[in-house]
Amino acid sequence: MKNQTIKYGVVLVALGLIVGISIAIFLFNKPKRDIAKAKVEYSITAAQLVTEFTQNEQAANAKYLSAAYGKVIQITGIVKEINLTGDSLLNLSLRDSTACPGSVNCSMEKPELSKAMFLRVGDKVTVKGECTGYMDITNEVTLIKCSLKE
């Protein structure tokens, strides 16, 4: 009887350990958030986004940033600048018209390069990415992990 209890105890502890270690390994190697597949929280134009940040940066930060990462948003705008920023890396700058004072700076994901490199200044595009804040010295809202939408 006593032996039986010890046996069950050992099995239970072993099971607990296995489950615990698996969870720890899974959490440690938590896969990257797939922004391309993530749910869009806000879908707006580049000018609207810039205006929200220029008018009330604190309110916009509260709206577009959560504690652990920026929220996933979708922006429509016209390509203003295309800048290569490293090996297979590219940033797109979007605005709505030449009258729009600011722009949205989008760091594209590496696999997007093959599509993004065919863009020209003036093209209308929709980009999905994670908002990372607002740089007032250049009047740019910043987005990372961006992908182009058809």
């Binding site: 959490l27 440690f28 190697n29 938590k30 896969p31 990257k32 958030r33 930060n61 509260a62 940033l65 959560s66 504690a67 652990a68 990462y69 920026g70 800048n83 920023t85 490293g86 890396l89 940033n91 700058s93 700076n105 760091s107 994670e130 908002c131 990372t132 804040g133 607002y134 740089m135 007032d136 010295i137 250049t138 740019e140 910043t142 990372i144 992990k145």
Partner: protein, 182 residues
């Protein structure tokens, strides 16, 4: 009358061009940092640093969105934003200061010049005076500013729990590479 207006417009146009040349801008600066600790090495990169330099005065302003730093491990990025940097509350790091001898650099002469930048660095809502060595490279009229310096986490009120002291270094190496377009 007409000629006067034309002349005035011409002068205005000229002065605007001169002012424009005086100002260097980038919105895609590369900033990255390393933490070398007993148990692991951590690094993170961003290509969204914004910077403006007024060459005649030698002044520089840099702004970095903290949430734009990307790590290899998602969990690290989440801890970085949530527990250490409080990024939603303090979404950017800034530096305002001077680059020594910048006005003496000839933009028409290619070369790499050693320099020192000095000014106020704000991270995690704490501002400190820092001095960092670096280089200014001039290539075909374009400027590239690079610097590497160390910061102490405790200087910026960034507290690492005792159970992570073997994972996160107390001194962080920061690298800056600003590719000015104009």
């Amino acid at each position: 009358m007409k000629t006067k207006v034309v002349a005035l417009l011409f002068l205005l146009g000229m002065s605007v061009t001169i002012i424009a040349q005086d100002k260097l801008i980038t919105k895609t600066g590369h900033v990255w940092f390393y933490s070398h600790a007993a148990l692991e090495d951590i690094e993170a990169h961003t290509r969204q640093a914004a910077a403006i330099v007024i060459t005649a005065k030698g002044t520089i302003a840099v702004m970095i969105p903290i949430m734009s730093f990307e790590f290899k491990k998602t969990l690290m990025q989440e801890h970085f934003n949530e527990n250490y940097m409080e990024s939603a509350k303090y979404p950017k790091a800034t530096f305002t200061g001077n680059i020594n001898n910048l006005s003496e650099i000839n933009p028409k002469k290619n070369g790499i010049y050693k320099t020192v930048a000095e000014g106020e660095l704000t991270i995690h809502n704490v501002t400190r005076h820092i001095k960092a060595e670096g280089t200014v490279e001039v290539k075909d009229g374009k400027y590239n500013v690079k610097s590497k310096f160390n910061i102490l986490l405790k200087d910026y009120n960034i507290v690492v729990e005792s159970r992570f002291t073997k994972n996160i270094a107390t001194v962080i190496e920061v690298n800056i590479d600003l590719n000015f377009y104009y």
